[in-house]
Symmetry: C2
Subunit: 83 residues, 2 copies
């Protein structure tokens, strides 16, 4: 979990990943899309030619809801598709 | 061009598009990826389950460089893949 930053206001888990080429960026986004569909978890993503930023927020939309296993597991699964 | 917002600091062209489903969002992102590859223009994109935000910046990285036909044409081409 060291690659992810835990941030506050709002509480979230973030990871930035850099790629050498746009093709590699797109490949990762495709894989991430498949993972999202299979888990029904849809993080906020921003990307450009050679980077992807992923933001995972607590599933509960209550104010100050904490991150749970759901987000940590999903983060680990994202790490998995990078290997 | 009415769907795009021209913004300053930094100068940029932005459009937000909403979709009914994650599948429709992914389909659009795929098409946009193909367009980016063919034109060698890579906008900054952020998206979630049902929206995509696109930011086009001036090709020149000089301070206060204006938007040019390049960005306006690419914006119109993006509009084209939505039809």
């Amino acid at each position: 979990m060291t690659q992810w930053d835990q941030r506050k206001r709002p509480i979230r888990l973030e990871r930035r990943i850099e790629f050498d080429t746009y093709e590699a960026t797109r490949k990762f986004l495709d894989d991430l899309g498949e993972l999202s569909e299979s888990k029904k978890i849809y993080p906020d993503i921003s990307f450009g030619k050679d980077y992807v930023n992923i933001t995972l927020r607590p599933e509960s939309e209550e104010k100050d809801a904490p991150l749970t296993d759901l987000e940590y597991k999903f983060a680990a699964q994202i790490d998995g598709i990078l290997d």
